[in-house]
Symmetry: C2
């Protein structure tokens, strides 16, 4: 379309960004090359650095550069509570309330059968093994011997988030785990990341 | 905000993209690292390649990897007509009509006093020197000796595009150049890049 294969290639590549169509990608490429080449190189280096260094926390599944993320490694956190969220952004929203001192499990997604996202894609088995570990003989530990005493479901209050919470609740309750859900102080249909701190804090206290 | 400096750095860097705020940048970073690391590396490589290889055409000022772009170098184009556009995307929109066989000058912007964009920032002097060259004694060539016989102003029909066209028209007319403007078949207030081909073709024929 333009006179430059490199420009066209950049426009094509920028369409990999979620929510960016052909026109937006062309404008972004033009802006960077015409007005902000240092910014373009900064993005390139940040992408390469992040791809090379970011991995999943072995305990909570969030994105981190360590084997165990700083939250999971923090001895001050209450290890008997485990809060299940969809994304690191949701976890960050909960952390900003300063109303929760337990640990997290980050699904890095949500059940979405229409998009082909099933239980294994969001690490549900890892979550179940974390909450109900097995002894050397492969038997599930009895409730009183488990570290996690309560699982708080903080998936979004969207249709898919509710369905995800439902599936997790069913599975964990059948294994004798106490499962609670953030109270519906969070407006139905909204996404956690965009909710004000007070509402989230209230919903944490009122969890059911 | 997250547990990863690399993730936060990527989110910060993505805010360099026009129209991308903090929330969008965080979602883009999360999406790339969780779901599309190959896409992330593709964007990084495309940025580096484009920054390293894309420059301005010495004749028309558009983005290209050559010293002279393929349009300017094309011996089949009518060198007596010069069409002035704001961006390569606008030029591409005109090319798609197949209604114009002359050459282009790409401003790579528009006059925008409120944003501090003045005549020198959009290469107006380069345009004037192109249209009215000087002889060895530094005198402007007389009209009959000039290669460019007509300048067609095809800046956008926005307030800033109209003002840019007005400034160019005034300057060139005072130098004895025939200056025309795309006909107002193009809806007032719209941007060329988004106009349908037929309207642009019609406006080319009806230029005034
Ligand atoms: Zn962790
Ligand atoms: Zn050129």
């Amino acid at each position: 379309m333009s006179d430059s294969n490199a420009l066209d290639g950049l426009t094509q590549a920028l369409r990999k960004l979620p929510g960016v169509g052909a026109k937006s990608a062309a404008r972004m490429a033009f802006h960077l090359l015409q007005h902000d080449k240092p910014g373009a190189l900064q993005i390139a280096r940040a992408l390469e650095h992040a791809v090379g260094s970011v991995k999943h926390c072995a305990l909570c599944n969030t994105l981190t550069e360590q084997d165990i993320c700083s939250t999971c490694a923090n001895p001050q956190r209450d290890r008997s509570q485990l809060c299940v969220v969809e994304t690191p952004a949701d976890q960050a929203a909960l952390e900003r309330t300063q109303a929760y001192r337990g640990l997290y499990f980050v699904l890095m997604g949500k059940l979405s059968p229409l998009d082909g996202v099933g239980p294994n894609d969001i690490g549900l088995q890892i979550l179940f093994d974390r909450v109900v570990p097995r002894n050397e003989r492969g038997e599930p530990l009895p409730a009183e011997s488990r570290e996690v005493q309560e699982v708080i479901l903080a998936t979004n209050f969207t249709a898919e988030g509710e369905a995800t919470a439902h599936v997790i609740a069913q599975a964990l309750k059948s294994r004798g785990v106490q499962v609670t859900r953030l109270a519906r102080g969070v407006p139905v249909g909204s996404e956690l990341e965009y909710v004000d701190l007070g509402t989230i804090a209230h919903a944490l206290v009122d969890r059911r």
